[in-house]
């Protein structure tokens, strides 16, 4: 399975560069974690990788092939799956139809139903009737069912009770175990560091700290400092706010 490589990517929202010269490697079979406080640029980076926003400069390659000039649906065809923030289900479609839209010819839902038996029980139900946790499961299942090579996940835990998040995290690990290159974005460090392999911390659009997750778990002060970097001066605060405004 191929690796996803992000090289010196800059992503702008309007005229403001929210992500500046970020380089990142998302190897196959591992969970790479991307952390950072609100406004750091994590979602913007994922939007750039997936094609929701065109990147201003830099390269994104999958298995060595550049994908940053492709349209969104072509990137999906190449094997990129993006679980966006906010549980983007198709509320008027049934669970099965939600999965059907994602699945490619010759693929089946069996896998998804094994991982999420709750969805199998509700497959004829319209997606808007599901609870928040079930909707997040549906979004994950929808991403996994297309057997992607790369899985991008943006703040899966937002708005969910911890008991449900605990249910979902092993799925992320299982995805990596199958060979997918997983990039997991989270605002809450401890959740992600627990299952990740390597982590990068983004602050004000650039990577300020990088290392193995087990290592970072031993250095909570460094992690906290990395989150706060750039806020120690007034100019830094201003930069942070304007970048947050641009999101």
């Amino acid at each position: 399975m191929p690796d996803l490589v992000v090289e010196s990517v800059t992503v702008k929202r309007g005229e403001l560069a929210v992500v500046r010269g970020v380089s990142l490697s998302v190897p196959a079979g591992k969970v790479t974690v991307l952390l950072g406080s609100n406004g750091a640029g994590k979602s913007t980076l994922l939007d750039g990788i997936s094609g929701v926003i065109p990147i201003a400069s830099g390269k994104v390659t999958l298995d060595g092939e550049p994908i940053h000039e492709l349209r969104r649906d072509r990137r999906a065809a190449r094997g990129l799956a993006y679980v966006e923030q906010g549980r983007t289900i198709f509320s008027n479609l049934t669970v099965l139809e939600n999965l059907a839209v994602a699945v490619k010819r010759g693929q089946s839902y069996d896998d998804a139903f094994v991982l999420f038996p709750e969805l199998k029980d509700r497959r004829g139900i319209r997606a808007q009737m599901l609870s928040g946790g079930e909707q997040q499961m549906l979004v994950l299942a929808r991403a996994i069912v297309s057997e992607p090579k790369v899985l991008l996940i943006d703040e899966m835990s937002q708005g969910l009770a911890p008991v449900i998040v605990k249910r979902l995290l092993p799925i992320v690990t299982a995805a990596a175990d199958r060979g997918m290159a997983v990039l997991l974005v989270e605002q809450f460090a401890h959740l992600a560091l627990g299952i990740g392999d390597r982590a990068s911390i983004l602050s004000v659009g650039t990577v300020v700290l990088e290392g193995s997750c087990s290592d970072l778990l031993e250095r909570p002060d460094d992690v906290r400092h990395a989150y706060l970097q750039g806020e120690s001066t007034a100019a830094g605060i201003e930069q942070l706010e304007t970048r947050a405004a641009a999101q």
């Binding site: 406080s37 609100n38 928040g132 969910l160 911890p162 008991v163 605990k166 706010e241 405004a245 999101q247």
Partner: protein, 580 residues
């Protein structure tokens, strides 16, 4: 009032300058060009009318030109056919008569939105055109000729009359835009729910927009028929309605300069095409294509471009955010409860609140209260019914069981914008009005005129130093706090704050929490905070209500409630339960 005048001053000055230049150029010019300019200026008035109802209030009304027809019929009848009233009095009557017709069109707007309204107004345009063609309404036939009175027939006099009209109406629109009427128009253009939650009467905002635009259109129609001498129905045909709409979009007629540009470009292009013997359809075609381009770019057309150029020349406002922190202020981790005697009915009381959506019970006989001048948290897992509770309290749910009382007064039967006088809420998503500056945004949500001192107090409470910058250029934290501030400027008895910390960093959340703590003492309100962020809840709320599947499963001192095993099982998960 002074803030109002100061804000409108640049626009008024620019208007005056442009108009004086126009006068200087056109007044001495030969009759033909005066005639062209006269028509252009009247068309600019029509553009102004479309600008009010669509450009500002965001309502897709496709029939403004038809309202001009009402004015033309009035003038035709009163001045030419029956010699009842001379110009300019018949113009005034025409404008006045157009208003009830405009309001009649506005009535469907109260129930229909967006494209539905467009359909109705287009049908109306065809209906008026039909009535005009039939000719039974007095003044709608073209078998009369209006002769201008001597004093208006002098060289340049009629142009001057039209010139004064545009200057007057444009000035009125500029002033109205920053008055509470105009601010309410901008608010409903964005989000009707949010506008109602701010205390804006959506009903009144829509009707005033239609009324004002109808008056302008009626006056313009009267002037048009007086210029031509008479008018056939084709002048006010549906095609004209659509062409003007398309032009108004392209020029950004919500602002006076867009309306002016509309008249200018239309007049110039038709004169030029006539000189070169090219069919006017070509101009129409080009303007239509232009409007499509403008809509796709989404940047407000001609006037949007002009304003952006001007803004680029200005220095951006310095806005530095200073976050408050506990390490500096030393707030205790567990705030104390405020004592309240059981007979005291002040604050918010929720009694037996029940909401059902078909077979689903979203809220099941929930009862608790938020005593006056205190803060209570509302927590619970996703789908527990927290937002439903806020919707019910603020009047956005038509039918619910039980009762919501503020200071002992039941709120049932009171519509949202009136409940907003005592009960205010924020929304989870950003429902601020992006084009406004913080002071303007705060002014909409006060139910009355506020002094600069009061505005200053809210801005200080929020920690916002920007007074000129548009809201959509400020950071998320400031916008979030301004949304809370907009609740407080109305001095409500109760503020319902829905997930204020969502997406904020830890430091910003702490800053938010410290400011929330100040609300009861500083503004005299009770606060109900809905949150997922437990640290914020522990900082801010002495008591917390816990919902799960629509039922209230706990209401207690925060530390005790969060330790309750039922609460932990439902919400916090076994991880924390095992740690207890």
């Amino acid at each position: 009032m002074s803030g109002l005048r100061r804000g409108s001053f640049p626009s008024l000055l620019a208007l005056l300058v442009v108009m004086l230049v126009t006068l200087a150029v056109v007044y001495p010019a030969p009759k033909y060009w005066q005639y062209v300019a006269t028509i252009g200026m009247i068309q600019a008035l029509i553009g102004l009318s479309i600008g009010v109802v669509y450009g500002t209030a965001g309502m897709l009304s496709l029939c403004q030109v038809s309202l001009a027809a009402i004015g033309s019929w009035t003038v035709g009848y009163m001045t030419a056919q029956d010699h009842l009233l001379g110009l300019p009095w018949s113009l005034a009557v025409g404008a006045v008569l157009a208003v009830p017709v405009g309001l009649l069109v506005g009535l469907p707007a109260l129930r229909l939105r967006g494209v539905n309204l467009a359909i109705v107004t287009l049908g109306f345009a065809v209906a008026i055109y039909t009535v005009g063609k039939v000719g039974e309404v007095p003044g709608s036939t073209s078998d009369y000729y209006i002769v201008l009175p001597r004093w208006l027939n002098e060289k340049g006099a009629w142009f001057l009359a039209v010139w004064v009209s545009f200057l007057g109406f444009a000035a009125v629109v500029i002033l109205l835009r920053r008055s509470r009427w105009g601010l309410s128009w901008l608010a409903i253009a964005r989000s009707e729910r949010a506008a109602a939650a701010l205390g804006v009467s959506v009903f009144r905002a829509k009707l005033t927009a239609f009324g004002v635009s109808a008056a302008i259109a009626g006056w313009a129609g009267g002037m048009l028929v007086a210029t031509f001498g008479s008018a056939d129905p084709g002048t006010f045909s549906p095609f004209q309605c659509l062409s003007f709409f398309v032009l108004a979009v392209m020029m950004g007629a919500g602002f006076w300069e867009g309306a002016f540009a509309l008249g200018f470009f239309n007049a110039v292009s038709s004169a030029l095409l006539r000189q070169w013997n090219i069919s006017p359809d070509v101009a129409t075609l080009l303007f239509a294509i232009g409007s499509i381009q403008v809509l796709s770019a989404g940047r407000g057309g001609f006037s949007g471009d002009v304003r952006r150029l001007i803004a680029r020349g200005r220095k951006p406002e310095e806005h530095v955010v200073e976050l408050r922190s506990r390490s500096v202020e030393g707030a205790s981790l567990t705030p104390s409860r405020r004592a309240q005697s059981p007979e005291d009915a002040s604050g918010l009381q929720i009694v037996d609140l029940t909401v059902r959506y078909g077979a689903v019970t979203a809220l099941d006989h929930v009862s608790f209260s938020v005593p006056s001048r205190s803060i209570v948290g509302l927590v619970g897992p996703n789908g527990a019914g927290k937002s439903t509770l806020v919707d019910a309290c603020t009047g956005f749910i038509a039918a619910y069981g039980g009762s919501v009382l503020v200071d002992g007064a039941p709120q049932e039967g009171i519509p949202p914008h009136r409940r907003a006088r005592v009960l205010r809420r924020t929304f989870q998503s950003d429902r601020t009005v992006g084009e406004l500056s913080p002071p303007d945004y705060l002014r909409i949500s006060a139910a009355r005129d506020v002094t600069r001192a009061e505005l200053g107090e809210i801005l200080d409470f929020v920690g916002c130093t920007a007074t000129r910058t548009r809201l959509d250029r400020l950071d998320v934290r400031t916008r979030r706090l301004l949304m809370i501030g907009s609740c407080l400027v109305g001095r409500p008895r109760v503020a319902l704050i829905d997930e204020p910390a969502a997406g904020l960093s830890a430091d910003e959340s702490e800053d938010l929490g410290l400011r929330l703590i100040d609300i009861p003492d500083r503004f005299g309100a009770s606060v109900l905070v809905i949150e997922h962020d437990m640290e914020l809840v522990r900082l801010v709320c002495p008591e917390v209500a816990v919902l799960d599947f629509g039922k209230l499963i706990a209401f207690d001192h925060t530390a005790d409630a969060l330790d309750d095993p039922r609460v932990q099982a439902a919400y916090l998960g076994d991880e924390l339960a095992s740690r207890a």
